[in-house]
Symmetry: C2
């Protein structure tokens, strides 16, 4: 079941798979940004894509930190579905799911790594020095960003345990519950805390976080932010353009 | 390749297929609205869905009115892909594509008809009387809305040929080219024209139109508008809830 037809031309040869639903608002917004960031004059100039939005995937943070159900079988199921649909590579707009990256590559579909995509954008606003990373407790525990960015030369700081418990973790849950506007203030406070500790830029390393931040006056925060939804969309467009 | 797992519960038994890409911004926004309109407290409460976003489907209006390539084989291909992915019903956030509704039902997947979904919302703002319908030239030519709504008791008016050529058709093209903000004024002018001719409500019967209208101060137009993206999302949530 491939969706390539003979009259394809240009960027349309490549079909992007999107393993989403984690959360569903983040992957829907990923599709919006994938579209708006693509230079296009008509429908047919846009990136063909299949979004597998399965919000039933067990919570990634609970799976890694609290003995919750393992999300891996669900992730593999989605990847196999995207492969069967004819996709040539996969973007996963969920940072924490990248904790299962190595196991997921076994399906045989290239996965565009969200941390590489974020590093590419980070280079443009803070080429070196100290950067802050916000994310789920599991993503920080697995050191998804810390190890990769420190290897590339940045110094990485993350929210304190207090800020995680009082600000970041509850804000992520609010976005998943469609209470997006209520997520802004705690996320902004966490950004301010990282900036006060010397962060020259902050990576919004959970795809719920840019949704919450953009619900308020984030430009007033005065520190460059890296939106991992946009970063992954830009990497996907670059892949689609071959 | 079904994505049902044994531990499913609640609304998660039903996977919605979304035949999108027509245009891609409209189907991405459909996924956003499907999420935000769902009562949910966490990821796992949301509607599982697969979006087949293939913007390469030949232009529906050209296919119907100008001897352009037939979109039907592409529509059938997408529907078969969604069926193979385990979807139980399909929403198509493109009004014009519903001109091929009868042919599409041959795939054997129930299709939630966008005109029925819009009529359901219209009932709440204008239970009878005269309503305006905006759409692509092909959708109006095929009388997708006119026949169905007149059968249900409404009187239907549509933009003049002059308004279609000068306002509605160019505005739809702007949305497809990511020039969304520039679509507002011509669409607002077309709404005003229908209201001046007696429309008590206006159906935005092309999924690009609500995107353009919402880029401006549409509340000032003073006439109830039926957003066919939201209408189809609400019908989809009702289906998913069984």
């Amino acid at each position: 079941m491939r969706i390539k037809l003979a009259q394809d031309g240009g960027m349309s040869d490549r079909v992007l798979g999107v393993l989403g639903g984690m959360g569903p608002l983040a992957s829907a917004q990923f599709m919006v940004r994938l579209t708006l960031l693509t230079p296009a004059g008509r429908d047919q100039d846009h990136v063909p894509a299949v979004l597998w939005s399965d919000p039933r995937v067990p919570d990634r943070t609970q799976g890694r930190l609290s003995g919750g159900e393992d999300p891996l079988p669900w992730l593999l199921r989605g990847l196999r579905g995207l492969k069967a649909a004819g996709c040539g590579a996969v973007a996963i707009p969920c940072n924490t799911a990248h904790g299962w990256y190595d196991e997921m590559t076994g399906v045989g579909l290239p996965i565009l790594h969200i941390v590489d995509a974020a590093a590419e954008q980070l280079r443009q606003v803070a080429p070196s020095g100290t950067v802050g990373v916000m994310g789920t407790a599991a993503a920080l525990f697995m050191r998804l960003y810390q190890d990769r960015l420190e290897h590339l030369g940045w110094r990485v700081i993350v929210p304190t345990d207090g800020a995680m418990g009082a600000l970041v973790t509850p804000a992520i849950a609010r976005v998943k519950a469609n209470r997006v506007a209520e997520a802004y203030e705690p996320l902004a406070e966490a950004v301010r805390g990282l900036a006060a500790r010397g962060a020259q830029a902050v990576i919004l390393g959970c795809t719920e976080i840019p949704l919450g931040i953009q619900a308020g006056p984030w430009r007033e925060l005065g520190v460059p932010l890296v939106d991992t939804i946009d970063a992954l969309a830009l990497a996907s467009i670059a892949w689609a353009r071959g």
